[in-house]
């Protein structure tokens, strides 16, 4: 204990609410007197009343700063008390603080500054002095140290050593439990089943905008909630499915990520594109009575025609395939049998003058069926270009939904997988679909002799409500006849 701290100065307090000064009526003690704690030492008159002020400390009176009759400002020193008089005489410099304090009181404060102890002036603990209370603390824009990194929402990076709770944390009160929320977060288990899915409002909005049914999704977000990514993935699948995807061509390559060892069965959730495909196929298969027919045909002349086509100067850079001639054959045949290019509408049949020719394309995202709008209006060259563009766009995954809507007749080239042909199921709203089998060399009776020829099998499925066996057979036969002798067919029907 240093001698200086032995001597304490008592300053005139604000004795009422908002008083600024008081007049000393009478000192009740003299310098050298020993005072007890709470012993009255001075009588002061304020604007409101005359009051006796008790001693704040026990000890010996060292200094009395004002005479009776003086008016003293609140906050000015009144009396100095040696709180430990038994410890020996005070050093020469002991009463020093009083002089400094007095000077501070007498000198007018700098403009804007307020004296210590007065309202608006500095107070202990970094506070501002006020009339009632300890005064407001000055604020700092500094966050308390956190043990768990910036937040639960952010990946916690290694904290710099400074930020670790060390000596600082000792002084800081521990982070209080999150008492913020008057309501506990809704427990998931208590949620009534009727509430359905968990998804934040913006995700619901997104789903609504994209036409995604949230109840069909499995959420990957927190607490099994559906995230924005879940919706967008489902929407992408929907777009594919809306193009008329058929179950026969949908690759089932998805394997569950974590499959328990020894498990001999595994399950794939029926959702998204698979679910929509299934619904479409069931709806089509059980509403449109399907008839399938097959026609095996020698397409050697078509392949030769393609070779000649490729040799033509205009066609140097054009990608041509047997599918191009099949498409042309279909378009020519549809012009002869427009009823094949139609759809069933309950109490009427809608026959279309235009052909939006769907071409099934296998892509990484699965099978999609974009169509070539008004394909019947196109020249062969334009048709070739359109098909090339369509396939390239599909393989790049950039097919627009509009390109997949409104198809009127579809060709599916299952031959690329090496099979003879198939019995495709109609895309909803179309009356017929043609399957092209693989083209391969086979023994074939040609001009009375068995020769090796390029042969394929065409398969067609049609809606028997619209198309009778006769019409379907004639149509299929025309397509086959075109492929057997394209030049003659074009001359006759083109």
């Amino acid at each position: 204990m240093t001698p200086v701290s032995r001597v304490k100065e008592f300053k005139l307090p604000d004795l009422g609410e908002g008083l600024t000064e008081g007049e000393i009526l009478k000192w009740l003690v003299n310098v050298g007197d020993t005072v007890a704690l709470n012993q009255p030492i001075v009588e002061v008159e304020t604007a409101k009343a005359a009051v006796e002020i008790p001693a704040k400390w026990a000890g010996q009176v060292v200094t009395i700063f004002h005479s009776e009759g003086d008016t003293v400002e609140v906050g000015a020193p009144m009396i100095a008390i040696d709180t430990d008089p038994g410890a020996g005489p005070l050093p020469e410099s002991a009463p020093a603080p009083s002089a400094a304090s007095l000077a501070a009181v007498e000198v007018a404060p700098a403009e804007g500054a307020v004296e210590p102890g007065l309202i608006g002036g500095p107070a202990p603990g970094g506070r501002t002095a006020v009339l009632v209370g300890y005064g407001p603390r000055s604020t700092t824009a500094k966050r308390r140290p956190r043990a768990t990194g910036p937040s639960a929402a952010q990946p916690s990076a290694p904290q710099p050593a400074v930020a670790q709770p060390s000596a600082v944390a000792v002084q800081t009160r521990p982070a209080p439990a999150p008492v913020e929320e008057p309501v506990e977060p809704e427990p998931v288990a208590a949620r009534p089943a009727a509430t359905g899915v968990l998804a934040k409002p913006p995700v619901r909005k997104l789903a609504k905008d994209l036409g995604v049914d949230l109840t069909q999704l499995v959420g990957t977000g927190p607490q099994g909630s559906i995230s924005r990514d879940d919706v967008q993935a489902a929407a992408a699948e929907l777009v594919e499915a809306a193009s008329g995807k058929r179950s026969s061509a949908a690759p089932a390559t998805a394997e569950p990520a974590a499959r328990p060892a020894g498990e001999r069965e595994w399950r794939v959730a029926v959702k998204g594109v698979r679910k929509l495909t299934a619904e479409n196929m069931v709806a089509s298969a059980f509403t449109a009575p399907h008839v399938s027919e097959f026609y095996t045909v020698d397409v050697t002349r078509s392949l030769r025609a393609l070779d000649r086509l490729r040799a033509m100067p205009d066609w140097q850079d054009v990608r041509v395939s047997p599918l191009l001639l099949v498409a042309k054959a279909v378009l020519v045949a549809l012009r002869r049998y427009p009823m094949v290019n139609s759809s069933w509408a309950g109490d009427e049949i809608v026959v279309k003058d235009y052909v939006n020719l769907g071409i099934a394309a296998a892509t990484e995202r699965g099978l999609i069926v974009p169509n070539i709008k008004d394909a019947g209006e196109l020249t062969l060259r334009e048709l070739a270009d359109a098909m090339t563009a369509l396939v390239q766009t599909a393989k790049a995954g950039r097919t627009a939904p509009a390109d997949m809507a409104g198809g009127t007749f579809t060709i599916t080239n299952v031959g690329v997988f090496g099979v003879d042909t198939g019995t495709p199921i109609l895309p909803p709203g179309e009356a017929a679909i043609l399957a092209l089998g693989s083209i391969r060399e086979q023994p074939w009776v040609h001009r009375g002799r068995v020769r090796v020829r390029q042969v394929t099998t065409l398969g067609i499925s049609f809606d028997h409500r619209i198309i009778d066996g006769e019409l379907g057979s004639r149509f299929l036969h025309d397509v086959g006849a075109f492929l057997a002798d394209p030049e003659a067919a074009l001359l006759a029907w083109g």
Binding site: I119, G120, Y134, T139, V179, E180, P201, P202, P222
Partner: protein
């Protein structure tokens, strides 16, 4: 442009109102000779006289009742309620008379009364000196309620309130009286009943008023180190609320934290949360969260720092919102 504390800006604004309109009166406990316990009316009685800056008896009901009579006779009384907790004796006069006169007179009589209340805690005071009674008044049709949070707003909003023909409860953030800021004494003020984005940000919106605006700004500053940008909105007007800037902000950030000292139960934050949920439902990435005082009586001074929302509680709420 001058640099003033909020207290001095209020004092200057009151002085200017007294100069501009001889019908403006100031009345309250110790507002005259003493200049108010917070010195907000310091020097005004000396310069404008005892007839215009009036020391009243310690009777809040009488202060407001007298003000009603003066207003009916064409004066524009500016009443100081010394501390928030002292307003309750005047509550009947305020909600039964002040709020209803315009309606009762079929629009013929308006009461241009301003009731200044230093409100909120943070000064370590005793009981009745740290309350936040804004919801009582915002709930009452016929009253307007505003709160300033900066010296510039203090200077202008007090003058706008005095100029208003409607009764206005003017809430002053008493613990911020000594915070300094720029005051544009010659500029044009914002409309009185408008809220304002005072710090732009993109990750979450924090709406506050009065003393909590500083807390929200501090929170935004502190969290900027984490790379997060909080948008801070000073609501300024509590009745009527101007929530269009809040809606616009929430549609961008998807998250809202409302901060006030008053308890959460049936408070301003609840009203704001309801309206934001209604207007911005599809934009909300998380529920509107409130950071408020607790639903208990205002605690003793030594415990008030546990009660009052601070920077860390605001940021905890922001974390909860971001983690939703």
């Amino acid at each position: 442009m001058e640099t003033l504390t909020i207290g001095k800006a209020l004092n200057t604004g009151l002085r200017r109102a007294l100069e501009d309109d001889p019908k403006v009166l100031i009345m309250g406990e110790d507002v005259g000779k003493l200049g108010g316990v917070f010195r907000i009316t310091d020097g005004l009685q000396k310069d404008f006289g005892e007839d215009r800056v009036i020391d009243t008896p310690l009777a809040e009901s009488g202060i407001i009742g007298t003000a009603i009579g003066l207003a009916l006779r064409g004066y524009r009384p500016v009443c100081e309620i010394q501390f928030d907790g002292f307003v309750y004796p005047a509550y009947d006069q305020i909600v039964s008379q002040v709020a209803k006169f315009h309606y009762r007179s079929q629009g013929k009589v308006r009461l241009p009364i301003v009731i200044r209340i230093p409100f909120g805690g943070g000064i370590g005071a005793v009981e009745h000196h740290s309350e936040s009674p804004e919801a009582y008044f915002a709930h009452t049709a016929g009253l307007k309620v505003v709160s300033c949070a900066s010296p510039n707003d203090a200077y202008w909003m007090i003058q706008q309130s005095i100029a208003s023909d409607d009764p206005i409860i003017f809430l002053e953030p008493k613990r911020r009286y000594w915070e300094k800021g720029q005051v544009d004494v010659d500029g044009a003020p914002e409309p009185l009943h408008s809220s304002r984005v005072i710090r732009p940000g993109s990750h979450a919106t924090v709406a506050a008023y009065g003393p909590m605006v500083r807390t929200a700004l501090d929170a935004a500053t502190a969290v900027a180190e984490d790379g997060r940008e909080l948008e801070v909105i000073d609501l300024r007007s509590l009745s009527p609320l101007d929530l269009d800037p809040v809606f616009e902000s929430v549609r961008r950030t998807g998250r809202l934290v409302v901060v006030h000292e008053a308890p959460s139960n049936v408070g301003l934050g609840a009203e704001i949360a309801a309206r934001v949920t209604e207007q911005c439902f599809y934009s909300l990435e998380a529920p509107v969260l409130r950071v408020t005082g607790f639903n208990v009586p205002y605690p003793a001074a030594r415990a008030e720092e546990e009660y009052l929302p601070d920077l860390d509680r605001v940021l905890d709420a922001v974390d909860r919102s971001m983690g939703w």
